[in-house]
Subunit: 356 residues, 2 copies
């Protein structure tokens, strides 16, 4: 049975990226050697690294003065690497969910970390508005998409200080005005690659301004100087990322991707609103994520929660169970999720409604 | 043409580990989903993590009180993570090569780091003896195998203080008395897995003794508490590591592996000694690495260096060029390198000798 992969991450990747990864593991770039066994110093892998960085710059229209890095350790490593490199006295954090809170917690080790605004009062089901970013902060940190709670900052905000964004779960889902950010990072295992690689887009002029000594591996300048090859990089995840970027480029880039993502999200949110059994967890439509669509059973049907999960599972849908802190269901509709999977879920919801 | 893969890392892996990785990327554990797209929270991946940790413990006969972790960031991340967690006042380092030197450099950020001994005076072509480990050090750090220079500490040394070892390039090549170490770490991309995962074996009683605040991701206890799944782990490299461990277990474990490794190394070192064109870079046989066999042209034949590399390359041998700081040739003879590859190299050396 064809599976519909709604996992929140690691998650669905383009078929072509998976198939080309398999081919490269069998025989990488006609070397006669597996991608899993090739030296990262080989000219064939250097070509992969170069093209992946170039496509990152092309697809996101990244201006001069920025560098693209592929590191290990996950976005959780960036939670401390950002303040290690950037926090001299004070930093502001927008706390819009669990991951934003984790990033905020790490910053406190390095200096004064201010919670500029939070949506914790309503279990993170909205994006705060009308907050004031301290103009004396070294930077202001946001999490653009909140995977667990299904909210998203869908536009590039204005910040009087260096803007730092965790875009783990919505990178490449829409055009981004990179010039508004000092640093963008994310785990790649949602829209880009298998787990094991973290991307960083950093503007060079924000670095070198803190007084603390920085261990070599934590210093962004180390990786910039060495073209993201200071130490052995995660070769396979970077290769698969390149294949995903090529797929996205062939599709028409991030504007086209955004159009498709909006179509998929509209289809599902409309059904959640229409269907008497279900309701969305995020009340305000403008705050709803295009990447992680969270919904629950309507009050009168709460006892059907597990029955629906089982019903969907029998139709090949996996990863639909909501995070324990929200409950209900979460359909992750990342870039590579085919529209047919959303259509299949909508049909499933309609059929389930007819039965009850 | 069949390739003989002598890369120093990433490097040759067992065929079965590569083929089973391909199968899992096509359809992981009968889930109908690719290993590259499966949630790390799925029961199928949890089973991979559990078995990989259990096989680590079985194959290395790891005593109670130790934990096995699979982290991101490479051994270079351990260079600062070790002192972050363990260095309160003073640490001793044995500087036997470039990587040992890099680890030593990071420790200086955290406290008093002592170079207990070094072999830099002779371009790291020997293992220092007769040094005294300071008994008031928090730990003593060694690099058991020096990939670039072809030297190796082939026995478990006695240390009056907590012994920490980087075993990136010789883990699983021989039995290890783990009880002599407080912490063993390594990048997995030599004897275990593709790049992107770092193993850590740590005895729990050495942790929690430093006074500095430790960022969450850097704290070994974070990963111990969460069974090495605090954040999304590098899924594919851990899967391939498990396949390599199963291969090693089926082969008869590390004692059998050591026997095979010694046979391969003896074959090649004997030819280097016998062949009038070549000479080893490490004079003392007892210090010679079983994993990275370094040799150069004899003085009278120095001009044949590039000719030999080309000759070997035409016979399908890749990765033989020595590191720039040593020159000549380096044959990495990791666990998964078939004996036939060493025999092919020896034939190649004999044929080259006959021609000159």
């Amino acid at each position: 049975m064809k599976k519909h992969n709604f996992f929140a991450g690691p998650s669905v990747l383009p078929d072509v990226a998976i198939q080309n990864s398999i081919k490269a593991i069998d025989n990488f770039s006609d070397t006669g050697i597996s991608l899993l066994s090739i030296s990262h110093r080989s000219k064939e892998f250097q070509a992969v690294m170069d093209e992946a960085q170039a496509l990152f710059k092309k697809l996101l229209d990244i201006p001069e003065g920025y560098h693209v890095l592929f590191l290990g350790g996950g976005a959780s490593t960036q939670f401390y690497m950002v303040p290690f490199n950037l926090l001299e006295k004070k930093a502001g954090y927008l706390v819009t969910g669990e991951w934003a809170g984790k990033a905020f917690k790490e910053a406190k080790i390095f200096g004064e970390a201010i919670e500029v605004a939070s949506s914790k009062d309503r279990n993170f089901n909205y994006i705060p508005q009308g907050y004031v970013i301290p103009s004396d902060a070294d930077y202001f940190h946001i999490t653009t998409n909140n995977t667990i709670y299904g909210t998203e900052i869908k536009e590039d905000i204005d910040s009087p200080v260096t803007l730092v964004a965790d875009m783990s779960s919505d990178i490449f889902s829409r055009p981004v005005d990179v010039s508004k950010y000092g640093l963008i990072y994310g785990g790649a295992q949602k829209n880009l690659a298998p787990s094991g690689v973290t991307f960083v887009i950093v503007r060079e002029d924000i670095l070198g301004k803190v007084s603390r000594p920085i261990p070599t591996m934590i210093n962004y300048n180390t990786h910039i100087t060495k073209g993201s090859m200071f130490n052995t990089p995660p070769v396979l995840p970077i290769f698969t990322a390149l294949e995903t970027l090529r797929w996205l480029d062939n599709l028409g880039g991030v504007s086209q991707m955004q159009k498709i993502n909006n179509e998929k999200a509209t289809l599902l949110y409309d059904e959640i609103e229409r269907n008497k059994l279900f309701m969305p967890t995020v009340p305000d439509a403008k705050d709803r994520s295009i990447m992680n669509i969270c919904f629950v059973m309507n009050e009168n049907y709460a006892e059907l929660n597990d029955t629906f999960l089982k019903f969907a599972s029998e139709r090949g849908m996996v990863g639909l169970k909501g995070h324990r802190s929200v409950g209900g269901f979460r359909a992750s509709t990342y870039n590579a999720l085919p529209k047919e999977s959303v259509e299949a879920l909508v049909s499933c919801m309609k059929d389930f409604e007819a039965m009850h």
